[in-house]
Subunit: 559 residues, 2 copies
């Protein structure tokens, strides 16, 4: 890309001692490199100084006609495009490849929503349709995009049961198709389940519980240690590396945020019937701030903990590869394998062994509808509690601390005033009043310290659950879509009876998978989340006990 000019939108303070450059809103910069990676560009300041700045802080100055947004290409993410253009660019998938880094900011910044659009990045799974038909249908999609982008698949929008399977399946850009769900239900998906390293089992116990994942056979934990700052390109770029130590290997591996990000993409791509815990948000500025790094580490630890507790996620290949690989060559190979995984989206169900028992549609519908309402409510309440918790965390550090300091200062000043009339005999009185002051000041400080051990961990825990509850509605909708697809098949008589049995079975496997995932969420709620709330309560109690003991002490010494 030849040099071009950008206008700075926001002030940016470059970190001293690095290649970062401070820029001021309004400056016009000449961009000299866009392949620095991780959202950084290199350019020249108006004074001719060269340095790095965050891409997100600038806007390109258009020299041609007024900018018109390019036509939408919703099924073709930049990452895929590149992968298709450069299918085997050898050294580009190691730890530090710039290509990898450049793509980091090209996915939506918020990871909380497990939206399934990433699943569409693989056209290979739509093997039933010739490429030309895909192109042909682009214009049709463009007209329908608003409508077909919704995950709702009620009978009426699907053609009132009058169309044929073949006709409907032409709308290959529908959500059901993009997620691979339609292909799977109709049995059009090529079965790659033999490539799975292991099969997933779902059990059913009693009528209350419609499905649960098999238990984790070898539970393990992974510790993520306080990160280290490292440099590359001879000090031009610095980055943060986290040290992960899985309990089953006890071998430390070093991972950067971009590796987590890549992993997260693979997980959301592969599992669209499993809620993937969210990663901490991306952030361009302040990345080397100690508080930020520690907060990110804590959130990554929460992400890891959730992964380790999930029966399917904790054993999947890409995750194990991520946790264990220490060799760069093997890393590249594992990375390529993960990116070529065929059992992604609904195809994942091909590797699932669900109970044989046929599900009763009426019962399932009721349970699913119940869960839709329930998850929606949980999602709202968790979001609300999380923002409350975050708010309290801030208030402890600022407001409460300030209030107690103010009270403390007023008593301290009065105690000092007592001393103005020096007659010896008043020293104890002055000290007593000053001690009240110090105590309140100390309590203010306690609030600040405490926020890190009660509100902050609660916020972090709820961040994970917020990600989960905002993913679950999509998963419930997948079940709805599968059910609808099955009903469509039942209604039109062009599907042979034998094939219909298979359709029903595959729809049941989807439903079992969804219920197993819901059951896992319930378990997490009743164990992990409940425990976190209890720990929060315990910490609040500890805090107020501490306050009591400070006041007691002061009172006991007061004459």
């Amino acid at each position: 890309m030849s040099n071009f000019k950008v206008r700075v939108l926001y002030d940016f303070q470059g970190e001293p001692g690095t290649a970062e450059m401070s820029v001021t809103a309004g400056d016009v910069l000449t961009v000299t490199r866009t392949d620095v990676g991780e959202g950084w560009w290199e350019g020249l300041s108006p004074k001719g100084q060269s340095g790095l700045f965050p891409e997100a802080y600038v806007e390109k100055i258009e020299s041609g006609p007024p900018s018109i947004p390019p036509p939408a290409l919703p099924w073709s993410l930049p990452g895929t495009e590149k992968a298709q253009q450069e299918p085997d660019k050898g050294s580009d998938d190691g730890w530090d490849d710039s290509d990898f880094e450049e793509n980091t900011y090209e996915v939506p910044p918020y990871h909380g929503n497990n939206d399934n659009s990433t699943a569409q990045t693989r056209n290979e799974i739509y093997q039933g349709y010739p490429a030309s038909e895909q192109n042909h249908n682009y214009q049709q999609y463009a007209r329908q995009s608003t409508q077909s982008d919704t995950v709702s698949l009620s009978g009426s929008t699907m053609g009132d049961g009058k169309g044929t399977i073949a006709k409907k399946s032409l709308n290959i850009f529908s959500s059901a198709v993009r997620s691979g769900l339609e292909g799977y239900i109709l049995g059009l998906t090529k079965d790659f389940s033999s490539t799975a390293s292991k099969r997933i089992h779902i059990y059913r116990e009693g009528d209350e519980q419609l499905g649960r994942w098999e238990n984790i056979s070898n539970p393990y934990t992974v510790q993520i240690a306080s990160p280290k700052k490292a440099t590359k390109m001879g000090g031009l770029k610095s980055f943060i590396a986290y040290q992960l130590t899985p309990s089953f290997t006890n071998i430390e591996v070093s991972r950067r945020y971009k590796h987590f990000d890549w992993l997260h993409d693979r997980l959301t791509e592969k599992f669209n019937l499993i809620a993937i815990p969210p990663l901490p948000d991306k952030q361009v500025s302040g990345r080397y701030d100690e508080g930020f790094i520690e907060q990110r580490r804590a959130l990554l630890q929460e992400f890891i903990n959730y992964m380790c507790r999930h029966p399917v996620l904790s054993t999947c290949d890409v995750w194990i590869h991520f946790l264990t690989c220490t060799d760069e060559k093997q890393w590249k190979q594992g990375k390529r394998n993960a990116e070529k995984d065929q059992l992604i989206g609904a195809s994942f169900c091909l590797s699932v062994d669900a109970p044989e028992k046929e599900l009763m549609p009426s019962l399932v519908d009721v349970k699913i509808d119940e869960n839709i309402k329930y998850i929606d409510k949980m999602d709202q309440c968790i979001k609300n509690l999380m923002s409350t918790s975050q708010d309290q965390q801030k208030k402890c550090i600022n407001m409460y601390k300030r209030e107690f300091s103010r009270v403390g200062a007023a008593f301290l000043a009065l105690g000092s005033a007592f001393e103005y009339n020096q007659q010896g005999m008043f020293t104890k009185a002055s000290l007593d009043v000053k001690n009240i002051g110090s105590t309140f000041t100390i309590i203010g400080k306690l609030y600040e310290d405490q926020a890190k051990i009660d509100w902050e961990p609660l916020t972090q825990k709820l961040y994970i659950y917020k990600g989960i509850t905002s993913s679950l509605p999509n998963i419930l909708q997948m079940q709805k879509m599968a059910e609808q697809k099955k009903k469509d098949c039942e209604r039109n008589n062009q599907v042979p009876q034998l094939a219909l049995t298979d359709v029903r079975r595959r729809s049941d496997v989807i439903t079992y998978t969804v219920f197993a995932e819901l059951e896992h969420f319930q378990q997490e709620r009743d164990h992990d989340l409940k425990l976190a709330l209890k720990e929060f309560l315990q910490e609040q109690l500890n805090f107020y006990r501490n306050v009591v003991s400070k006041l007691e002490n002061t009172l006991n010494n007061y004459e």
Copy 2:
């Protein structure tokens, strides 16, 4: 006074069922009566409706030329004027006389400052000067008023020691004269000390303490009970009456705020070397609000408590009369006696028996200067702590309660969301989470309740001390003035040696009185104030213990 028109400045909501009238800012009213009392006027609304409204809410519409402020008559307060015009208006000094009520709002609204201007309401004490000379000096005063209104009496402003006593004494409107100080020091004040019902003793123990009041021989307390709402004029006016029960009589007397107000005027008039505790502020609107009435009662109780603890104030005639009189006729007689008291201002010292030992001026000056700095510092710090306390009181009721309620609501909602997925087995989990919510909501409520038992009493106590510390500088200045007057006499040789001894003695009596009062303040600080701070600390401790116990309980029930 003939009817006149006023413009309403602020909206006022009349209390239903009384003669009060609601008026709206901008309305023009015709005033029909101004002698209703307690700051109320009667008038006709634009619609012709008749009713009462607060005088302070309206402004007179001037019909003549643009209003020019009338010439200042600083030595002649309206109350005195009236007293002179109507010297013996028989029935006007009972419990409910309208004349008495009308004057209620004609004194400065803030009682915290014991400014000595009320002392000037009695011209009788300046018996040394013929009335014509007083008139003659009015113009001289008018020119000098800014200068002579200040309480500072440094040698330079007093004529650099070049003038004679006679010459200086012509400036009868100076602070020293207005307070009766100059007359007293010079021995020009007529000695009415034989009229005193008792003499006041000051003792001196050791060199550290320069003086202290004799101890209270019969300590007593006075309880002020929850006030009752009463009416008069056939329900036209309603008022609040407080029930006071002194421990030494155990007979309840009924007093209104205006009686306290009258008492306070008498006390500040009589004692300008003693700090009079402040009354609660006057307030026109919301007078029947329950919270306001209770707060006023509590502040009156604090006022009473301070009075009872003061060796001089607790035994003075007007106070005892106020506490004990139950007969209307006796009340009127006592009221007249108090208003005719001759031992007011500096003349009060004529009834003081101070130690015989002559004071060392150098020591006294050092101590006084120390105390000026000390009292100034105390005054600032008490004001600051009081406003902090008041602020915290509000914050407990609003902010803290709101914050905890918000947290509680977020947990309660999450607990409810748990129930959306009704499967019986989750009931306990839901309950646990809800219990956290209830606990935080309860803690919020505790904050609100607690404010009434920790911050509010602290604020009330500090209100009294703020009044005291803001009065003490005037008292210290009185001593400075007395000292200066003495020095002036010593410098000019026109005063005979014998008379000079008397001048020194009288100056010493003033100094002993001031030190006795400072010593009393120290005792109050080290006993009453310190105890109040301790009680506050104890209440804070109780509060946090309560919080701990709520959290403990919730945690113990959490599974």
